[in-house]
Symmetry: C4
Subunit: 490 residues, 4 copies
Amino acid sequence: MKLISAQEVEKHNKKEDCWVIIHGKVYDLTAFLPEHPGGQNVILKQAGKDATAAFDQIHPRDIIDQYLSPEVCLGSVDPATVVQTVKVETEEEKLRRKVNEKKPSLIEMLNAYDFEAVASQVLTAEAWAYYSSGSDDEITLRENQNAFHRIWLRPRVMIDVTNVDMSTKLLGYDSSFPVYISATALGKLGHPEGEVVLTRAANTQKIVQMLPTLASCSLGEMTNARGKDQIQFFQLYVNRDRAVTERVVRSAEEKGCKALFITVDAPQLGKREKDMRVKFIADPPDIQDEKSVRRNLGAAYAISAFIDTALNWNDLEWFKSITSMPILLKGIQTAEDAVLAARHGCAGIVVSNHGGRQLDFGRSGIEILPEVVHALKNAGYEGKLEIYVDGGVRRGSDIFKAIALGAKAVGIGRPSLYAMSAYGQPGVERLLQLLKDELEMTMRLAGAKSLADIRPEMVDIRNLHDHVFTPKNYLMSNVYDRLTPRKAKL
Amino acid sequence: MKLISAQEVEKHNKKEDCWVIIHGKVYDLTAFLPEHPGGQNVILKQAGKDATAAFDQIHPRDIIDQYLSPEVCLGSVDPATVVQTVKVETEEEKLRRKVNEKKPSLIEMLNAYDFEAVASQVLTAEAWAYYSSGSDDEITLRENQNAFHRIWLRPRVMIDVTNVDMSTKLLGYDSSFPVYISATALGKLGHPEGEVVLTRAANTQKIVQMLPTLASCSLGEMTNARGKDQIQFFQLYVNRDRAVTERVVRSAEEKGCKALFITVDAPQLGKREKDMRVKFIADPPDIQDEKSVRRNLGAAYAISAFIDTALNWNDLEWFKSITSMPILLKGIQTAEDAVLAARHGCAGIVVSNHGGRQLDFGRSGIEILPEVVHALKNAGYEGKLEIYVDGGVRRGSDIFKAIALGAKAVGIGRPSLYAMSAYGQPGVERLLQLLKDELEMTMRLAGAKSLADIRPEMVDIRNLHDHVFTPKNYLMSNVYDRLTPRKAKL
Amino acid sequence: MKLISAQEVEKHNKKEDCWVIIHGKVYDLTAFLPEHPGGQNVILKQAGKDATAAFDQIHPRDIIDQYLSPEVCLGSVDPATVVQTVKVETEEEKLRRKVNEKKPSLIEMLNAYDFEAVASQVLTAEAWAYYSSGSDDEITLRENQNAFHRIWLRPRVMIDVTNVDMSTKLLGYDSSFPVYISATALGKLGHPEGEVVLTRAANTQKIVQMLPTLASCSLGEMTNARGKDQIQFFQLYVNRDRAVTERVVRSAEEKGCKALFITVDAPQLGKREKDMRVKFIADPPDIQDEKSVRRNLGAAYAISAFIDTALNWNDLEWFKSITSMPILLKGIQTAEDAVLAARHGCAGIVVSNHGGRQLDFGRSGIEILPEVVHALKNAGYEGKLEIYVDGGVRRGSDIFKAIALGAKAVGIGRPSLYAMSAYGQPGVERLLQLLKDELEMTMRLAGAKSLADIRPEMVDIRNLHDHVFTPKNYLMSNVYDRLTPRKAKL
Amino acid sequence: MKLISAQEVEKHNKKEDCWVIIHGKVYDLTAFLPEHPGGQNVILKQAGKDATAAFDQIHPRDIIDQYLSPEVCLGSVDPATVVQTVKVETEEEKLRRKVNEKKPSLIEMLNAYDFEAVASQVLTAEAWAYYSSGSDDEITLRENQNAFHRIWLRPRVMIDVTNVDMSTKLLGYDSSFPVYISATALGKLGHPEGEVVLTRAANTQKIVQMLPTLASCSLGEMTNARGKDQIQFFQLYVNRDRAVTERVVRSAEEKGCKALFITVDAPQLGKREKDMRVKFIADPPDIQDEKSVRRNLGAAYAISAFIDTALNWNDLEWFKSITSMPILLKGIQTAEDAVLAARHGCAGIVVSNHGGRQLDFGRSGIEILPEVVHALKNAGYEGKLEIYVDGGVRRGSDIFKAIALGAKAVGIGRPSLYAMSAYGQPGVERLLQLLKDELEMTMRLAGAKSLADIRPEMVDIRNLHDHVFTPKNYLMSNVYDRLTPRKAKL
């Protein structure tokens, strides 16, 4: 491969002539610029420079080979010509370093919120915004947790609960307790190794991991990290280009994924304003260029432009034709669609609003769950497909509530990202252990010796549908000018 | 026209002898003083001086010709005698200038609240108080937004939503999406050009503008600013003097307005205490003069004294006799009155509480909407008249909810004033674009390809009528003295 | 009368020998000490001194003649022997003086809350505690206002509301609007002239005043202050000593009171802890003396020890035998008792919880009103007795709501005390005028031309009985230790 | 007994060789270390030292004799060899000493919250955490009080309430009012004399005390402290070792306890994170030792490891065979279990969630009460067994509400601990007197002359089951990042 000097690369530093170095190779991205899903500016900031660090935070390593033609690679950068720059620590980096030095020891983490608190300190502003944000006023984001708070427990006593069995089977595969790690994007924003950290923790804790389409590790990296007997499912964003979709699905099956979860709640990504605002600070858009403005919408937008808006029920036959994995739909939010999924032969559904990141004012999964269970039963599908739920699970008692209402298992998204970001694999393992301990305690105190003992009458859901105390709209309350009575000013 | 020296004008600076200069002309307002709707003090502060700036903020330019007899104009001020005073910047003006320099760029405005936040900084205290205030304890003002928060969405998935069509027809006229700019008074408090700024933005965004009776631009200025194919409706406050009313209505029709929206919720203007308090600070009333005290009630009172308190259902026949424009009633708040409007042959209604500025504890338009739709259907008027709603719309999802509940379109009042005040015409255009984008996203994520696809079952309104979490009464909580337990004071 | 030197009085300054000077006369209170309803300490602090100022704040002038035998008066103090002490202004007095200098002008008072805010500044700590306090956790105190907030309005439009008539008749007597000044104790804590200030304001505003048993003015002072055609009712605390009760009732009738309102909700006075705490600060009790401790329970306790706990339905016949005034019961809180009142021939009732000063968690009058109206109708008493309501009225719209639900009029207690304390008679007059203006506005905006037009369907009371958002228990929240997540401490 | 020098003891200061001095005796705890319910670290910190102070705070004096074999006692420490160490006051101790000096006088304590406020100041961090904490998010902890706030009163008037009789009989034994002191653990954390302080106060106030299994006084100390005619019940945690259980139960009966309350809601102790966090600060666990980590879970865990998780309905026959005391179950939380308790011949139940310390999101006792009463009546057990309730009682009106809903009496736990910690026996007596006074006032104001007069229709429980305003999750709200609108930064 041809050797190119770093000084030569530096000359190609503009829109009309744009080279970058990634992992030691030199690429001419001039033609690719307008097609970059993340917008031109992100690349232009790296024009003429080594873009490896920025690239790695977002992209799996094999993405260049998959999406760019070989001829854009001009050769290798000549190592002898590379000037090592001394990196000066910024104020933000200094703060984060101090946090890392002073963060509590792992055993002091007592619950899922503790991990979130530490993660908010150790993550970069961009990563925190991407992980933590919800859409619009973040009403649904918070409602996901609030809805669990409207469910109360009816514990039974005087039952021998010496042995509590939390194990279950998901699509026939063993799980140590009814929790799986749900698919979340851009793991390397939180940890340099990305999603494989979650893979390893899921393995030791003996639970299923759902692999994300938008991982920052490649699919191969994630499946290679899989332990013996470990089970992985695959989450799919359907690409407009069905050839790409087919390639991805076949690849997942070949690499040993056991089920296909098609995301159906994201024909367009939601409006996550925290994410967008951070983007504006880090990377001021080119005001002259309206297109660039519209694209510069945060990490979420950058990675999602390829998603197929035309996906519909008729497509399910085609999916069945390209894979033998069971097909499940992730993002069902009504009884009607649950029944349709059953009619179209799906193996299951995930009742979910995408962690409050898509349609604001969508109801929480846990609220929708009883409606879905009831409708499926009425339509004759009881026990015919598996029902999962995600969104807002933070305590073992939340898992208990979901099981009582008919869920097979619950998905955990943000909590595992936060635990990973704060403490790596041991963090995720401790998080899962805490949830396990909490579920065990809840079952013991409620008189349930196995998941089958967790019955609907153990939860009081009279207020589950009562949305009279909506999460506060902080934008609205911030702009409201409060009345004050007139009195003497002293 | 006779030339009068500024020094001569200065001598006539008291109640019994009061001249002012407006746009270079000298007026003797001594006789008019007690009849000025805004009270004597406002004029007396300008006695003997050039009142142009103060006049322009409130009044359309043609108002003097309309309401005063020609003989009060004594002549023109002699330009040679006018001493240019060097205006010293006040602290408030300095602050506002700085805000204008440092306000975010327009593309950083991501939602309607952002515009309100910037407007609260750039507006004068008087303008902010007039625009933002509601009546009494501002319960209804805030309930208008809260009510939308009690409506949740039931999105459908697996529908091809590549193309989303938001267009509609209002009274037969095209609108790019189901939003119109509602009538609001005193636009020049927010922008030196006043309501024509809204006209121009409505034109580029292809939506209807409803022209206000109490505009600070003249009717002619607003209709002249109209674009090709642009549609304008006219909002009417009925004047006690029906000859004036007839002149205004005929003029609106002649100048091309396509519909007449008669405001029916304001026989008396509401008690807007923020507005009144600012007035007291800016313009301490003459304590000796009880009448002046009662009149000195803020901008709202100043402009409304002419409104006809006797307006009633029998008047509708007369309105039909003087105009061929379709007649709609703005401010309907019960099913009963909606049916009466239908019986009296109205072409439509606006379900509205006047932006929370009239009767406090009036319910929100969005809450009343289902009751009105139901009653009209029961009375056989389904589809016979168009139903609009306004109050509290801040997000695309709010528009979606209104359409789902049977509205033809929603009116936007304060948000467009705030956007105009903060960024002029581009601000209003961006606001409308953001709402359009949000509505499109909501429709796409809810599985609605056109407005007709937005069906009632897509919204969950079980809690819409639950007023158990009323907006906080800040006056009450401010005067309440909280209990504290007794403990050691260290 | 015998002259006694001040120096002689000074020697009698202990429990066993206790003289005081009141209005120039010398009294030997040694024997009376243990019987003083307000406890011994209050008197002992004045032993040997001139107690006039302390006496006047609590007692009507004629109380000594009524309750003490003539021989305790030993003579007059010799004026020549009285040393004028230079009173040094305390910090608290200095602050209150400044407040009085800087308080807003009366016309800046825009609502009832403004008066309360100024009153909280101008009143002594003792007076503020006595006036503002409620019982226990002050839940009912605040619920009284909150309950009105759960009632929403259904205004009608297109009605000629040029003339709005608010006048009514209470027990056959004219009232300019459906409000009366309710009985409240210890007026001189707020204003040196006491309750006659309210008498005069009620007169100019043409409304009824209800005279309190526990006034700091004598009954004669209050009836003498009555204007021509002015109407006064009399509120009665029944004394254990029925001879006293009879004397008081006959006196009220003789002095021209037109109705007797017997308080039935106070066999024991409520536990008003703010009042009790202030007492502890101002007047530390004698720890040795348990009886003194129990008595030292604030102003409320001090004045109420005489109230008859045995009062019951059988007593009504006796009351009818001693007066020809119509008899009404003040403090009815259930439908059952309303019907009993009707059966026992009462002319009316006041639905009331005593301003939240008696039984905490008693429901608000406005909530009880529909239950009472319904029960009376069912029992055949519709229109047979007049129903009043008090508690929490702060806005004209509150009055409107009470009328819509069947009240004849509403009583105003604390607001008039606050207005009187802050601005004297003109304050009370302005308060009443504001309420009148607000009621007029509410009626006009709701389409009601007279009180008879205010119909039940104009109010939406679906949530009136929903107590799910109870006033915050500040004691409870103050002692609760909030959980915080563990994170790095920097 | 052999004399051992303190210097000799000091040498045995490690895991493999661990001696401690307790009350002058020397124990070799090497073999016992891994079996200590409170974990090894607590003991190891004292290895080679005098552990008396630490021991006394947690343990009753006779526990060593009960649980350790005699041979671990090696002899007595030689007093001549003991070096008196000068104790230096820590900052925390200094603060607590100051609080004790400046705390309000007892008569200034006006309600239960006042005692809690003072207790939060005088207790050590460990004691405060142990007493005040609840499980998980402390939702149920606070709901216990909130639920009472959703019950409103319907007082009757015009009843002779001169004499109010609050006395009742619990299981046939006299009680001055319907309150008993419930069993709580570790009294010496709050007061050096421990639970006997409560015994003495209960005696003077003529109420029943329920003695705790986990007392820091020995059972004999508590029963010996009993007054003439005083009644004590016994609360039992069932030990895995039924021989121990039998010994304890027989001992309680022999020592004169009149009833056996078996705790059924604690097969595992709840997760009380405040308690756990304090433990981490005071006593950092050995990170190498995972077992030690799991054990180091706060005071609650330390004392509870022996509790039998296998306890079930079949065990009741055995209990009846070993005691003639009536058997009651403490911790019933459903109608179903109440009926089962009746069927199994229990003499009564305590409707309770263990003070919010066990299953978070368990409903409050007061909410469960009507469901239980209704079910027992339907099953034919009305009046057949006594129903008690505890959790959240802070006011006399709370007691009134419980009686109205069918409780025989209410248990008081934390409030008596707080009163004891702050002021010792007089504190507990005053607390009980205040509750008595409040109940008397509530009864008088509600028209109830005896407990039998407190009828269900006197309480309005329409909202009792409405959990729409859940106690705030402070962990969740702490980690949530609030949205703010974009505006100019000045």
